[in-house]
Each structure stands twice: as C-alpha cells, then as structure tokens.
C-alpha cells in the first residue's frame, strides 16, 4: 500500500494541488496588503467572489474534457472551437425557423438544443471519419482544415450578424444556465456543478473502466494495441465524436453566458485554452498519459490565476494571456529540467562511487 501511496503523493495531480494552494495563499496575502494599503475597498479575493467570477473560465471546461480524451489517444483536435460556434449557430437558426413556423416556443427550444448537440456530434464524427479513413493525413492537418470549414459554414448560416431573441422569455431560459445556485451558503454557478458532474462521469469512464484502459493503450502504442484486440478505429471515431458533443455543450453554456446572442465568430481560440488546460492537467500530445482529476484542478488553477492577476495585480486582459503562455511552457519544461538534474545527479554520484 505504501508504494501506491507514494505514487499518488508524487503524482502530477498532487503537485497541481500544492501549487493551487500556494497561489491562493499568495493572492490572499496580496489582497490583504492591498486592503491594508487602502488600495481596495472590500475583500476582493474571497471564496464566494472567486467561485462566482470563475464562470467565464468554466465555459470551455466541457471542451477541455473532450480535448483531453483526444490527447490521451495521442491525437489532437484544433477544430473544437469552430464546431462549437457552428453548433451555437444551428441552435439559433433552428429555434428561429421553428418559431417562424409556429411551433410552440418550449418545444422549439428543446428541439433546437437537440439540433445543436447533434450538430456538434456530427462535426466530431466528421473529424473521426476523416482521421480513420485518411490515415496518411495527421489529425493536426485534418482538424486544421475542418476548423476553417466549420467556421465557414457558421458564417454562411449567420453572415456577419448576431442572431438574438430580444425579450423572448423561452430562449432567455438559456441565460439561467449562467446563474448561480446557493448550496450551503455559498452561491455556486450552475456551469461549475454541471461540469463537475461531467468530470466525474468521464473520470470513472477513463480511469476505471476497460474502455478507458484501451484509450491509454491506443495512445501509448496504437499498433501493439490493435494487435491486442483493441478496436483502434472504433475508439478513435468515438472519441472525436464525443469531443464534438462536448464542444456543443460548451456552445450551449456560451450562448447562455452571452445573454443568448449568437455570432459566427464566437469562441475563437477556445480549443487552444482547452489544450493548455489539458496539458497543465498532465495530458500530453504524445498520448498515453494524463488524468481527469489533473484537468479539473488545472481548469480551476487557470481560473484563479486569471481572476487574481486581473483583480489584484491590474493585469490587462492580454497580459493574462501572456501568463497562460508562460505557465503552459513551464508546466512541461520544469519537470524535464528537474528530471535531467536528477539523472545528472545520479550519474555523478555513481561515477564517484565506482572510482573509489
């Protein structure tokens, strides 16, 4: 049991939790010193306010789960943002056409939502089909072109304009997705609750079931996995489809967040945020490793850092992006450097002992 405990303690997730705690303490400290210096009127960085303003950073959390699954297989999907935008566009178009056709608003919203998720799933399936059918092309190239294609279709549907449903009570139901719910005295945004539910399902599925083990096998060595009876093509197709589905879930929450106004150029670059969060969470583009727990922690870590830098250090929005870039590179560089130092240390130690 001790060996297993040691593995958990030294694992990547533990390190993320420690960093998370340190960052919170540092920000609290900064908040207190600003209040002492009279720089800010009220306690800015407390649990309630942080959780509440975590919402914008939780929008792409569903897409991050999808991207994590793809990374676990050793592939990549840069069209997630575009398929989310296309799903949002379909949500608006379907709702509008059904309303014009006189369908009762409640039903048309439900059908529009189904249509939206179906579109995302379809986009994922298209990626999956192309990846398994055209093995000579790499997922990076395939999703590069499908990104332009999906974004193009979204523009075709919506033109440059915004589709909005001014004071339409039923469509405004989507806005409630962005509200908060008070549990145990703290108001927790719905988006976080739904995300944690999704994360739990995917944790169990990826880490505890046979299917999850097969995904990691595929990511480690797809030929050996194939010869061990793993249905590699079926899994690749399913993962890309699920990633498309999760992207459309992100789209639904995005529409809710932006007060149900839908644009073709929304969610640009969301897949890059998702890749950054998944990589910080322990996944890697070479496949075979990573854990959902790590991804959940890294999403909250990114959220806290972005909020803290914005409110406590006066970082402009683009400066926050810079810190994301720095953290992304350091999160892979430092373990490598540490590993090299250890290796060098061990060699020096052994050479010293052998010459004596």
């Amino acid at each position: 049991m001790k060996q297993r405990l040691k593995r958990i303690l030294l694992s990547w997730e533990a390190m993320l939790i420690v960093v998370f705690a340190i960052v919170c303490v540092a920000f609290n400290q900064q908040d207190a010193s600003r209040q002492a210096a009279g720089l800010s009127k009220k306690d800015v960085f407390n649990l309630a306010s942080v959780i509440k303003s975590m919402r914008p950073y939780m929008l792409y959390s569903f897409m991050t789960l999808g991207i994590a699954l793809i990374l676990a297989m050793g592939d990549i999907d840069i069209s997630a943002g575009a398929s989310a935008a296309l799903s949002a566009a379909m949500l608006g178009i379907l709702y509008k056409t059904m309303m014009d056709a006189g369908v009762p608003s409640g039903l048309s919203l439900a059908l529009a939502l189904v249509g939206c998720v179906a579109t995302g799933t379809l986009c994922g399936a298209a990626n999956g089909f192309l990846v398994i059918r055209f093995k000579e092309l790499f997922p990076m190239i395939i999703t590069l072109t499908t990104q332009l294609f999906f974004r193009g279709v979204a523009f075709l549907l919506l033109g440059g304009g915004t589709l909005t449903f001014k004071n339409d009570k039923t469509f405004d139901l989507l806005k409630t997705l962005y509200n908060t719910v008070t549990i145990g005295g703290i108001s927790i945004p719905i988006v976080i609750i739904v995300f944690l539910a999704f994360a739990a399902v995917f944790y169990v599925w990826l880490h505890l079931t046979a299917n999850g083990r097969r995904i990691f096998a595929l990511g480690t060595n797809s030929k050996a996995a194939y010869l061990s009876g793993v249905r590699t093509d079926k899994i690749k197709f399913t993962m890309f489809t699920i990633c498309g589905l999760l992207s459309s879930v992100t789209a639904v929450f995005f529409v809710g967040a932006t007060s149900s106004s839908i644009r073709a150029d929304s969610m640009v670059g969301y897949e890059m945020y998702a890749i950054a969060a998944a990589v910080l969470g322990g996944f890697s583009t070479s496949g075979g490793k990573g854990s959902i727990v790590g991804v959940v922690i890294s999403l909250f870590l990114f959220g806290v850092i972005k909020i803290g830098l914005g409110t406590l250090y006066g970082f402009a929005d683009s400066m926050v992006n810079m810190s994301v870039g720095v953290i992304l590179i350091l999160s892979t560089l430092l373990p490598n450097v540490a590993a090299q130092i250890n290796a060098a240390g061990r060699v020096r130690k052994r050479r010293a002992s052998s010459l004596v």
């Binding site: 046979a210 060595n221 050996a224 010869l227």
Partner: protein, 508 residues
C-alpha cells in the same frame, strides 16, 4: 597472418546496477573476419559501442596500430577508420542513396554541395562492390538487403579499415545472405578487418576466421574457426550443457482446427492453402519477402484478404479484425516484440490483461484483484523472470518479453496460436524455454502455426512444414527425415534454384 591492427584489453564498462563488461580482451588483424559471439545481454553490443565511441569505457585501453587512442565520440572513431553497420541499416530513409553514403562529407564547390560529382562518385563505389543501385533512389524504397549494401558503401567511402557488422543477415534471405558473404570476403581480401556479430551459426562458420565468445560481460576465450563446432560454441556461450536443444514432445494430432483455402491478398500472396490440427506444430517457412508474415496477419484479421476462405473447426468464418480473430480463438505473436507485441512502458500485468479486460472486470469497472490474479498465474505458468508483475516490460530481457507476449495471447485461451519468428533476437537459453512452452501448448491440444526462417527450429519443432516461395505455397512436407536442403530447394526462387552450385552440408 597479417600484422595486428587493433587490440583492446581489460575493457570494463558499468551501467547503473549492472556490470556490462569486465576485463574483456579482443584483438583484430588486418584482412581478418573475427566473429564476436555470445548470448543476448552477454555484452556484445556494449563492447562494439565502446569501440565505435558511443560509450566511454570505465577502464581498459584501445590500441590501433599499436598506439593508444581515446574514442571520445562516433566522429573520432570514424576518423580512425571504424564504421558500424546496424541491423536496421537505413540511417536516412527519406534521403537519396548518394546522400546517405556521403552525408557529412559531400563533394563541395565552395559552400555548395556538388550533386553531380557526389552522384557519380556514389555510382562508382556502388559498382565497385557490384551493387546495382541508382544513386538517386530513395533509400527507404530499397529492400533491407540493398539498404545494407548502401551502408557498406558508406563505410568504404570513409575508407574504413575496421567494419563492424551487427546481426547483418538477421533480416536477409538465404540468397541475400550469400551475396553479403561474398562481399564480406571480397572486402577481407582487400585488407579490411571485419568484426561480425551474429546469432546464425551458418554466418559464423561460413565467414569467420576466428571467434571470440563473451558470457555475462566476461571474456570466455578465442578460438580459430576450424578448432570449434556448434555444440562446443553453444556450450561456451551458455556455459552449461543444454542437453537436448529442442524439447519436442510427440503428440497425436487431433481434429482440424484451422484450414485456409486459396487465400490471396493482391500484391503479397495468392492461393495459399494450409491446415493445422489440434496438438500439431505446423511450420510456415520460406525466404524473407515470400509473404509468410502477410499470411499470418491476414488469418489474424490485421489485414484483409482479397480472395479465399478461412475455416475454424470446419466452420467458414470472416475475420475483419484482430478482435474478431481472438473471439474465434486465434492468437498471434507478432514478429517485432517491442513495436507490435508489447506496450514497453506498461507493467507486465497491464500488458497481459489488455486483450481480456472484460474478464477482469467486476461490473463495468476493472477489478485490480482479478487482474493481478490472471497476470500472476500466467507469470508463474510461463516462469517469467521478474520480481513482480508490476515491473515494466522494458526492464525485462528479450526472452522474458517474448514470454509476456505469449502470456497475453494465452489469456484469451486461443485454440490456434500463430507465432511469427518466436525466437528472433532471443538468447540461446530463452530459446529453449520458448520451445518448451510451444511443445507443452501443443501437447495440451492447441494448434500451433509457427512462421520461422531458422532452419534448426523448423526441422526440429514442426510436425508438418509448408514452404512459401514468392507469395505461393511451393511445398508441403511431413517433418520426419526432412533435410535443410529439401526445404531450401522449395524456398529459393526458381531462376536461381536451377543453377544452385556447391552442395554445402551446414552443420546443424
């Protein structure tokens, strides 16, 4: 004998946790082929890497023409005329032949490469050893044998005085091996000293003048080739008398498990028909490129046939994927253990249970207790030498890795087991263990289809032998009283078989 070119004495090299080389002596004369022989892990490749400057020895000295030199890196070794040819020869598959030969020292006009001169010089060198290869061809598109010729020419272009050939014939057919022997002898007569590392006794006895044996990193002895024979060599390598080398139990063949009729796959093989009965070991042999591995892949569903029918226990079946093959009771041991057989950085346990995760599940979840039980029982059954099932596959020796792949297939309780080159690159000791496993499985009523090009193995282990030539079954023998030449005759392409000259009895 010509004068002493190279002598290396008291060479010691220590890696974390293991003493790879201790006090190894080796000397080489000009114009001599000296075989370096030993089990896997005996330290042969480490020793060669020390000579080639890839590793630095912890102690000992290297004398070239009597003068001591420090081989600090491959480029210094190259400058001293030492060149190495590895088993998977092509170093730059995407580049042209000429470029592979002259990489690093092309013919220049000022700062620019003079392609015309480089190509013509390459053509001259290629013709000098009779290799009919165009300088502009992309190396990747050449056959393994011809890639090896390119490597030899590359060594010559650096006017190498010492040529290290590491397992040169492992991937070559009989025909191509003979061509390589001729070229090696030609180089020897031109004064080039060759260090030959090979598991194939035919190479050693056909080529080498002297043989040095290493065991567990230590120096055993050096003999000239005529004062030693196979059994003495094997005994020196293994250090103990291995008794009967091929433990084949006699079994009564049961009913038919596998039958394939006129199986074809465009471009690889056509009208292949064979059958395997319970308790039988059937060998499928032939030259490299005859299509044997492709037949195995097609039966296992990794590739799709273009015509023909497969019957399992008499019933016609369509196998579209390895997954379906396994559910029908067919298992495959792939040819390349590390790339296709195992997940190297996974534990033994997880490797073994990968194909049969459903059986280790309690409800939807994988139960680690069930998983441990299955892996541990197979570990003991095949006595895989590792302290526990949690160790990673990459930490195991070649033989033990092969046993893990066998264990992985046995977990599926196959009725038919296809083994593709089961003992390739495995040391002598483990070979015997694998043969024992094979004969036990046959004795328990399993049908074994062994794809192999090692004649001793084919002759001594198989009950029936199918020989393939250029994609077709060319002969079907029962193993009793079969000789190597009968097999070779069926295996060698027709045009050349007619003029097959010297009848050579190869010690077997």
């Amino acid at each position: 004998m010509s004068d002493k070119l190279l002598s290396m004495n008291r060479i010691t090299k220590i890696f974390p946790g293991v003493k790879a080389l201790s006090d190894v002596r080796f000397d080489l004369n000009k114009g001599e082929i000296h075989a370096l022989v030993g089990e896997n892990g005996a330290g042969k490749s480490t020793f060669i890497k020390v000579l080639a400057g890839v590793h630095q020895p912890d102690s000992g000295e290297i004398l070239l023409d009597g003068a001591q030199i420090i081989m600090k890196d491959p480029t210094t070794a190259q400058k001293h005329g030492i060149a190495a040819i590895h088993q998977h020869a092509a170093s730059y598959p995407d580049l042209s032949v000429a470029e592979n030969i002259f990489i690093g020292h092309e013919f220049m006009i000022g700062p620019f490469v003079n392609w015309r001169k480089t190509n013509s010089e390459a053509k001259k060198l290629l013709d000098s050893i009779g290799a009919d290869i165009q300088p502009q061809d992309i190396v990747g598109s050449l056959s393994v044998a011809r890639q090896q010729l390119v490597e030899i020419v590359k060594a010559l272009s650096q006017n190498a005085r010492i040529l290290i050939m590491d397992e040169p014939t492992a991937a070559l057919s009989k025909q191509e091996s003979e061509e390589l022997y001729a070229i090696a002898k030609n180089l020897r007569n031109r004064g080039v000293a060759i260090i030959l590392i090979s598991h194939r006794f035919e190479d050693i006895f056909d080529l080498a003048d002297r043989a040095t044996v290493l065991r567990d990193g230590g120096y055993v002895g050096t003999w000239s080739i005529d004062e030693i024979d196979t059994n003495k060599l094997v005994a020196a390598m293994v250090g103990r008398d291995i008794g009967h080398f091929f433990p084949k139990k006699q079994t009564q063949p049961g009913d038919e498990l596998l039958r394939i009729e006129n199986l074809s796959r465009t471009g690889f093989f056509r009208d292949v028909s064979l059958s395997v009965r319970a308790g039988e070991i059937v060998a499928l042999t032939g030259l490299v490129g005859a299509g044997r591995t492709e037949v195995a892949e097609t039966v296992f569903g990794a590739e799709q046939a273009s015509a023909g029918q497969i019957y399992i226990e008499g019933k016609p079946v369509q196998i579209h994927s390895p997954n379906e093959a396994m559910s029908l009771g067919v298992g495959l041991l792939p040819e390349d253990r590390q790339l296709q057989g195992l997940l190297m950085n996974w534990s033994i346990e997880r490797n073994i249970t990968l194909p049969t995760l459903k059986q280790c599940a309690r409800g939807a979840f994988v139960s680690s207790a069930k998983e441990y039980a299955m892996a541990d029982n197979l570990k003991t059954r095949l006595n895989i030498k590792a302290n526990d099932v949690k160790t990673n596959a990459e930490a195991l020796s070649g033989g033990n890795q092969q046993k893990v792949v066998v264990a992985k297939q046995l977990a599926v309780q196959p009725k038919i087991l296809i083994l593709d080159e089961p003992t390739k690159g495995v040391d002598v000791g483990s070979k015997a263990a694998i043969y024992e496993i094979m004969s036990n499985l046959a004795a328990q009523g399993m049908g074994i289809l062994m794809v192999s090009s090692e004649m001793p193995e084919v002759i001594n282990m198989a009950d029936r032998i199918y020989v393939m030539r250029e994609g077709r079954i060319s002969a079907h023998f029962s193993a009793k009283g079969i000789t190597q030449n009968q097999i070779l005759e069926a295996a060698v392409p027709l045009a050349k078989a007619a003029r097959n000259t010297a009848e050579r009895e190869v010690a077997s």
